[in-house]
């Protein structure tokens, strides 16, 4: 095909939503200032466990401008069954129901919603609401409850119980070098910049426009439909811009429930925004304790891998993630023993957070691999290459493609890894200790059924729509590129619309699957539109197209034309005008995609990365600076190297954050995360971030999906935190296995 001017796939196109974002016109959930809006302010529980014994709302209700105080005492009768409260990604168990009863299950639990005319008044009124509690002893310390840990059942969708193979005990004995260690990291909270908010616009007769912060408009819609008994038409959820998600928007958060409740009860438009403190009152990456033991033969090949993790969950749900499974895939080894257990604490249920499970598991596995390399007397990169997996032993499947070797080679070359001297403390820059460490990881290349509509209007403008999301990932942009290329139109002639439940249904944005799921569906929808346009050309008695089949024609320069003779062409907008309809449109079918999901996979489909990190450590103060990072990623076809690079840059920042700064510090006396603000929950700022180089190695894959994309949201994060910890070991000789590596652990 000769699509010279419209070959957009793979080009570093600027974000199409860029102008709206830099001009401040992009509207986020709390920014729809609909008329006659009321404001709800959430009151949070000061205790972690117990019950509410008294709520004295009368003085608050007496304030002029306060409309209602909602609590368990006056919530109307709602859906009764647990399943009505289960969203698309709810783990097993019994979902938390806001304002359901007097019981307190976790600190900062929402106990009341004060609704008033203004935000200022609602906030003030909430601050004086008198509530009394009976507190009972809570348990929030994972280390004290390891004995009670249990193997979870099936857990949530996507969770695969880890599968052991071979005989680890035998492999351990066969080994000539060994390592065994415990690793831990604390809870982390997603903390997207935009705080959770829902603006519910009351349109009369229970018809609502719900502007929600979410990673899946349809997930929010289903949730409120089931709980409040609303129809699809009544509960329209809109989410055009999402100020960061990282997993926090996968499940509907409680402000959605509260805002819809208040709107329906008061028959008014209501906005509920959470505070930054309240952003620490729901899902988080669970604190996880891990044990890894590795053994190698004399040639450095792994003879045994043992990886066991114990993670926290809530009293009411079994949150599961794939923490240890990756250790049975990433390296070649016959004897693998894996274990994963949960322990129930008085906290809110954990929640998927960027590269859920893998980010945690790779911390332990990739530090352990570094320790094993030292124990075996091998360079950490050479050690990984010697244990390269060319076949997925865990799934017993060949890889659809795997360019991790290229990641190792190109990443190492760009970083200058061959100049590394192995001895800890052997590299210096003036008086600073220099450390070079590496790591890497693996993430699923998934694809979900997604529906897309492609619609060409009489002006020749193509609108492609799907109820997916763009949490900053670049969905708007890459889908516009794919659609423009598919129909041979300039980018300006294409608009991609998302984030609305009136659009064709799409899965929520997570798991790095949007590019593959929605992207391939855009191609399919455009292809169907192409067929419809050809049909229209044939109805117009255009002689050149009379007997043409779809493979005989192409779309270029805003025209439908014959491949064999591109002078035989008809302008697309003329086709629409001749049809007598305002537009010609087509939607892809998800039947095949759904069938595909039921069939056992033929290939192991994964993205991989290798990351190389330099740290410089002050030998007296033990301050650590990550001065250089090279992250080499194999993720199939890169649709837009500019937005793709940004995703990996962000992942590196997350990895550095996880390694050095980020932790939700629980004060077990109160059962509460105490650093619930941006000043004390440390994340990197600009001055913390230095040179980051992103390398996308070429990886062609015609098996993973037609576009050959694997997704990029998570893979870049893997191994970064471990690589930083490994670099710190190389610089200082200190092996810190409890992340984050703060100064006190190095002194």
């Amino acid at each position: 095909m000769s699509h010279h001017t419209t070959d957009y796939i793979g080009k570093p196109t600027n974000r199409v939503d860029g102008p709206a974002k830099v001009a401040g016109t992009a509207k986020y959930a709390a920014e729809f200032n609909v008329p006659n809006l009321l404001y709800g302010y959430v009151v949070s529980s000061p205790i972690a466990k117990g019950k509410i014994t008294k709520i004295d709302a009368a003085p608050v209700l007496a304030l002029p401008g306060v409309h209602q105080v909602f609590s368990h005492e006056n919530v109307p009768s709602l859906a009764w069954l647990d399943r009505s409260y289960k969203d698309d990604v709810a783990p097993g168990g019994s979902p938390f129901r806001p304002l359901h009863d007097a019981e307190i299950k976790f600190s900062l639990q929402p106990v009341a919603l004060v609704v008033a005319d203004t935000f200022e008044l609602a906030r003030y009124a909430a601050s004086i609401l008198h509530i009394e509690y009976e507190e009972v002893a809570h348990e929030t310390e994972l280390a004290k409850h390891l004995d009670e840990a249990y193997e979870p059942g099936r857990g949530k969708t996507g969770y695969k119980p880890p599968k052991s193979r071979g005989n680890f005990g035998k492999g351990w004995k066969e080994g000539v070098a060994h390592m065994e260690a415990q690793y831990s990291h604390h809870a982390q909270h997603h903390n997207p910049m935009e705080m959770f908010a829902s603006t519910v616009e009351w349109l009369g007769d229970k018809n609502l426009n719900i502007y929600d912060k979410t990673q899946g408009a349809f997930n929010s819609q289903q949730y409120v439909m089931k709980i409040f008994g609303l129809s699809k038409d009544q509960a329209r959820v809109i989410s055009k811009y999402t100020g960061g998600g990282f997993g926090s928007g996968l499940r509907p958060q409680y402000q959605l429930f509260l805002a819809v409740l208040a709107s329906l009860e008061l028959q008014r438009s209501v906005r509920v925004s959470l505070t930054r403190e309240q952003m620490f009152s729901f899902g988080h990456r669970p604190e996880t304790l891990q044990h890894v033991a590795l053994a190698t033969a004399a040639d450095g090949s792994l003879t045994g891998i043992n990886h066991v993790a114990v993670a926290e969950t809530s009293q009411f749900e079994d949150f599961t993630e794939n923490v240890v499974g990756w250790s049975g895939t990433l390296y070649d080894c016959q004897n693998v023993e894996l274990g994963y257990r949960l322990s129930k604490l008085d906290v809110f249920s954990p929640l998927d957070m960027r590269a859920p499970g893998a980010a945690s598991g790779s911390i332990a596995l990739e530090i352990a691999m570094d320790e094993m390399a030292y124990a075996a007397g091998l360079d950490p990169l050479e050690f990984r290459i010697r244990n390269y997996s060319d076949f997925d032993q865990a799934q017993n499947l060949p890889y659809s493609s795997k360019a991790l070797r290229k990641c190792y080679a190109e990443g190492a070359a760009k970083f200058g890894w061959e100049k590394r001297t192995a001895e800890p403390g052997s590299m210096k820059d003036g008086n600073l200790l220099v450390g070079w460490g590496m790591g890497g990881g693996i993430w699923d290349a998934s694809k979900m059924p997604a529906t897309v509509k492609a619609s060409l209007d009489a002006d020749g403008h193509l609108t492609v729509s799907s109820g997916t999301n763009d949490i900053g990932t670049g969905t708007y942009t890459i889908m516009t590129q794919i659609a423009a290329q598919s129909m041979g139109l300039p980018l300006e002639a294409v608009t991609f619309v998302l984030g609305d439940t009136t659009l064709p249904q799409s899965p929520l944005q997570g798991g790095s699957w949007t590019a593959a799921s929605v992207g391939n569906s855009v191609v399919e929808a455009c292809s169907k539109l192409g067929e419809a346009l050809l049909k229209q050309a044939q109805q117009m008695d255009h002689p050149a197209f009379k007997d043409a089949k779809i493979e005989d024609v192409e779309f270029a320069n805003g025209q439908l034309r014959l491949r064999a003779d591109d002078t035989q062409a008809v302008v697309l907008r003329d086709l629409v005008q001749a049809s007598g309809e305002p537009k010609i449109e087509a939607e892809n079918s998800t039947v095949l995609a759904k069938l595909e999901m039921l069939k056992p996979p033929k290939y192991s489909m994964h993205a991989h990365n290798a990351v190389f990190v330099e740290v410089k450590v002050d030998p007296e103060l033990m301050t650590v600076h990550v001065t250089r990072v090279v992250n080499a990623v194999a993720a199939g076809r890169i649709l837009n190297p500019k937005t793709a690079r940004s995703q990996v840059l962000g992942s590196v920042v997350w990895g550095i954050s996880s390694a050095l700064m980020e932790e939700s510090v629980m004060d077990h006396r109160f059962g509460r995360y105490m650093n619930h603000n941006y000043a004390e929950y440390h994340v990197p700022v600009n001055a913390d971030i230095h040179d980051i180089d992103v390398v996308f190695v070429s990886e062609e894959d015609d098996k993973v999906n037609p576009l050959g994309v694997k997704g990029l949201g998570e893979v870049g994060l893997l191994g970064v935190a471990a690589a930083v910890a490994n670099a710190i070991y190389h610089a200082t000789g200190k092996r810190v296995r409890d992340l984050p590596v703060t100064i006190d652990k190095l002194l």
């Binding site: 200032n33 962000g650 913390d688």
Partner: protein
Amino acid sequence: MSHVTQAPLGRPPVALAPTQTVRLNINGQAHTLQIAPWTTLLDALREYLDLTGTKKGCDHGQCGACTVLVDGKRINSCLSLAVMHEDSHIQTIEGLGTEDKLSPLQQAFIDHDAFQCGYCTPGQICSAQGLLNEGKAKTEAQVRELMSGNVCRCGAYSNILSAVMEVLNNEGLLIEDNAWSAGAANQDMPPVEPPKK
């Protein structure tokens, strides 16, 4: 078992503060609001004037998403009451440029992909404009330091740096030509995204 009381008030709530007239000059336009004196400048912009380009990320002066320019200086509008700014010239992201007529910083942020979710972006750009106005930052290290009051959870810092450096460079505000190395993995390597002259 212990008894916990939230908001222990031994007296009825105090009377609410009456609203008052507040006049603000925002992006060259005069606005008159009838608001309670405890209304922050941030909430006045977002909730009363529909100027929602200014973002709320923490409401505690910790994240910088609410950065606006007051008489050319960058401030956290969440830490300031609207009533304190009756005599000020307030500039928000909406006043720096529009989608059709972007400011050099806004364009540079797009070209360098200096954002992902876009939520911290107006604050970053206002902060960068404040940095330009201050005229202190001459090197990459200084820009990094002086842009560190604005958190970007998506981690777009390298690209934010590139965008700001390009504008500084184009305005001839850099101290030396080789102050630029954004994106380079080591000193021998050329920058990934050199400034556009």
